[in-house]
Symmetry: C2
Subunit: 201 residues, 2 copies
């Protein structure tokens, strides 16, 4: 019964991800997205868009990775994707500590395998991790377009900043990268995203 | 590109599940749960509690089923698990129409496979569907206990009504069924769930 109690503690703790808000604004309902529903949406995207993963990609592993990739935010919170380097470094340290604690609630064998999924996602070395990361970058772009600019407008984000993230999509899926690049171009021409900043000097 | 457009339409439509509220009350944050985050929580439970599925159960299929099982609620809404038979019959018809429409947004091959997952979950004939359904019944019980009675208290639900749902948990996983039965007993003795109603007559 000890094993089941550990697993149930983990399940209850995971549920707290429903209370972690992201920057992403939803349109219907008009409110900020939480990390639990975001993770679900990514897993649904893995089901619907698996065609665009490189041949041989293990999509069940992609899905498992997406389901757990944000669990560390229960402790560490969500950081805006365009935060500066110092904030990102602090966040990484907080997330590693959170991974130790939260995955450590599980029985040791499961803790190791869930932590392995999280490390794999973070390190972005396997095809599975790169495809999962591509979906994680694409989904907020789709939300911003639905929200007529959303966080792009709110934070004065420019097309060159978004295109730097599109590179991560291309890295996981050339087709989805091309799709995302077209979206950026369209968003600029629709006036919901500012054009690239001119290089100064 | 037509195929990708269909898939992206489905992904956007799926996102609306974030706006479908269930009866379940969350504790932190204290608000009703939506069906998207509920589906995510179930998929995380499949990862954590896979030990208790019958030997040979395909857990990746269980996960895929859990990810799509509530999508019909985008059109049909969520029905309280203790609704009466007439409401349940109306809901079933609405859900079938919703499944036709929503899964039909996908390219035909994917529409058939996603619809197949949904039908399988509803028909509850395979080990995968029965285990998925067990998790779907267990999760709101856990939430009610965390919420000191939650919807049990709010709707005056009694232990015999909850035990009828526990039978569905036992059907998918004897161990989780036993765990749920113990929870009900404990909830009655803690005074957060009314004891079984005496049989009248």
């Amino acid at each position: 019964m000890r094993r089941l109690e550990q697993q149930m503690t983990f399940v209850a703790e995971a549920g707290l991800l429903k209370g972690v808000l992201r920057q992403t604004m939803l349109t219907r309902p008009a409110r900020r997205e939480n990390s639990a529903e975001h993770s679900w949406h990514l897993a649904v995207m893995a089901l619907a868009l698996g065609d665009y993963a490189p041949p041989g990609t293990d999509l069940a592993r992609v899905t498992a990775m997406l389901l757990v990739h944000d669990l560390v935010e229960v402790d560490a919170g969500d950081l805006f994707v365009y935060a500066d380097a110092a904030d990102q470094a602090r966040q990484e340290a907080a997330e590693r500590a959170a991974a130790d604690r939260i995955f450590g609630l599980l029985p040791a064998d499961q803790a190791a395998s869930a932590r392995g999924l999280w490390d794999e996602f973070e390190e972005r070395r396997t095809a599975e991790a790169r495809f999962a990361r591509a979906l994680d970058r694409l989904q907020p772009m789709l939300a911003n377009i639905q929200a007529d600019g959303g966080t792009w407008r709110e934070h004065g984000i420019t097309a060159d900043q978004v295109l730097a993230k599109v590179a991560l999509i291309e890295d996981g899926s050339p087709e989805l990268g091309r799709y995302a690049r077209d979206l950026v171009e369209q968003a600029v021409s629709d006036g919901i995203l500012s054009p690239p900043r001119p290089v100064s000097g």
